[in-house]
């Protein structure tokens, strides 16, 4: 192994091509992972932030706020379920918002929530006509105290402060009182307006793990309840996004595996004579193979280190809110781990060839 590492140090040019290709693959892998995380984070923040044991939609809503309706009678049934301690209504409307100073077509996409029970990190509902805003809206030029005009009806909403990681469906969330939300909905989506005390969903707190099932059983299927994690996964499009990206990431890892496999297979063919000599001198096949793996791991680690640094720099250089890229240590480490596994597996293609190298080849033909 020492020999293999010495070769890496003394002949870095030999490994440059593989390192460059692997660096590009690692950048792609980390960038795709960052995009996936960014997309999911910007789609699910509002649900992840909920401090709830159950999120309750109406029975046929398929976890969609737009399709869901919870009237006071149904809410009363939910409140009556054993183990339920707190219930708060929640509703959402997604609109474009005019920001002072921006052009008339330069709208900020917002998802305005009306809520009774405050999510984690969000203060209690503000006064009528006011809202807490997710900090990502700052990228659209929104500042503290600014009044923005929401929807085609240009309903004025005063921004009174900012919260973090609460976006929904890729749009900046606004957190307002139920009355504010209901009036914004009526003014801008007349087709979807709701009667007094009607919400789209309920945030339920209580005791016991089986609260969602207990609620659905108590309402005889009039509700469709989820834990927070289930509700996150059930947001329309989230699972599809994850599956699509994970497949692309899987293909990228497979490409890395093939690149490493081919490179080290070629290197092994090129070194057959040298390995024959080393075997004649007493090298075990395992020693030679361990050297190959060590080289592959070091080359991959260098590529991953360079790629990780570049992706972090890219994240810092990109204007906030320009693309949904979320670079986290977890994603970088996962990408490195996947590449290292690919490196070891890729090298294993050469194992048979290493085993088959005959030390007799070192001293000419076996005549």
């Amino acid at each position: 192994m020492k020999l293999a590492l010495k070769e890496l140090r003394r002949r870095p040019g030999r490994f440059a091509t593989a390192t460059i290709i692997l660096t590009l693959i690692a950048i792609l892998l980390m960038f795709l992972g960052g995009l996936l995380d960014g997309l999911i984070a910007s789609s699910t923040g509002a649900i992840r932030a909920q401090n709830a044991d159950a999120i309750v939609y109406s029975g046929t809503a398929q976890a969609s706020f737009v399709r869901s309706r919870i009237d006071p009678d149904l809410r009363a049934q939910v409140e009556a379920v054993e183990g339920v301690t707190e219930v708060g209504g929640i509703g959402n409307v997604q609109l474009g918002a005019r920001v002072p100073g921006n052009g008339p077509r330069d709208l900020a996409s917002v998802a305005l929530f009306g809520y009774e029970l405050a999510p984690d990190g969000v203060p209690d509902a503000p006064a009528y006509g006011q809202a807490w805003a997710d900090e990502t809206i700052k990228a659209s030029g929104v500042t503290d105290g600014m009044v923005i005009e929401v929807g085609p009806a240009r309903t004025p909403i005063e921004i009174i402060g900012f919260v973090e990681d609460t976006n929904f469906n890729g749009q900046s969330s606004l957190w307002a009182s139920p009355d504010t939300w209901r009036d914004v909905l009526s003014a801008n989506r007349p087709d979807a307006q709701l009667g007094p005390d009607v919400f789209q969903a309920l945030i339920v707190r209580g005791d016991g793990d089986g609260l969602p099932d207990a609620i659905d059983a108590a309402t005889a299927g009039a509700t469709d309840s989820y834990t927070v994690d289930e509700a996150v996964a059930a947001i329309p499009g989230v699972t599809e996004q994850q599956n699509t990206f994970n497949q692309i990431i899987g293909v990228t890892v497979a490409i890395a595996l093939v690149v490493i496999g081919l490179f080290f297979a070629l290197l092994t063919v090129e070194r057959t004579s040298l390995y024959g000599v080393l075997k004649a001198l007493g090298a075990k096949s395992s020693t030679i193979f361990a050297g190959l793996v060590a080289q592959a791991v070091v080359v991959t680690a260098i590529a991953a280190l360079v790629a990780g640094t570049l992706v972090v720099l890219l994240d810092l250089l990109l204007p906030a809110g320009s693309i949904p890229l979320l670079v986290t240590p977890g994603r970088i480490l996962l990408s490195v781990a996947l590449l290292l596994v690919a490196a070891v597996l890729g090298c294993s293609f050469s194992l048979r060839r290493v085993l088959r190298i005959d030390p007799a080849s070192a001293i000419g033909t076996t005549s």
Binding site: K2, L3, K6, E7, R10, R11, S273, L274, V277, L278, K279, A280, L281, G282, A283, K284, T287, P359, A360, A362, I363, G364, T365, T366, S367
Partner: protein, 237 residues
Amino acid sequence: MNTASAGPSTTTVTTALEMSAVRKVYTMGDGSEVVALDHATLTLGSDEIVALVGPSGSGKTTLCSIAGGILSATEGRIVVGGEDISGHDAKELTKFRQDKVGFVFQSVNLVPFLNARENLLVVDELGKRTGAPAKARADQLLDELGLADRAKNLPSQLSGGQRQRVAIGRALMNDPSLVLFDEPTSALDTKLGEQVMELIRNEMKTRGTAAIVVTHDERITHYCDRSVHIVDGRLEA
């Protein structure tokens, strides 16, 4: 100079090599058999240098490979430095090569990215890993071979003769009972070839190490204690 064997698995180490009725048969793809070595019997004293002379395809490389534990014989008994390797499996042969034999290959085959000193230390790294004693031995060998000032040079920075001397140093690193030289002068001109044979003789005799020098060049056999001819896999004294 030759002595008889003392027992089935060990011998007194007054003989470097004992080969008794050794056969090597290759089975070809069509099922036919080719006898590469036919009942070869050869004994080397502990500091004897034997020239193994024969034309291409005569079986000299096969004999050398079997004596060096690189190939297994089909039949016969092989004892090197007191160790009977006739029944050794691949793992045992690897260990045997680390400890008991040295090789100098026809095309020298130094590791190209290691300097002269490191090429000697490869033997220790692949084998016993003694560290400091190996480094001291490498320095001593390089000094004795007149390469002390070339220790840090890569093979590409050395002349053909210097590379050959590094290869000899590498073969002596594990203090072997037997060193096998495969056509050591084939790539050298006559003068350099004679110098290398002189060096081989001096180094082997100084250390009391036995050697087999595989060659088809009769002009260098006088540097050896005796010559053994091999034709069609059969040894002729």
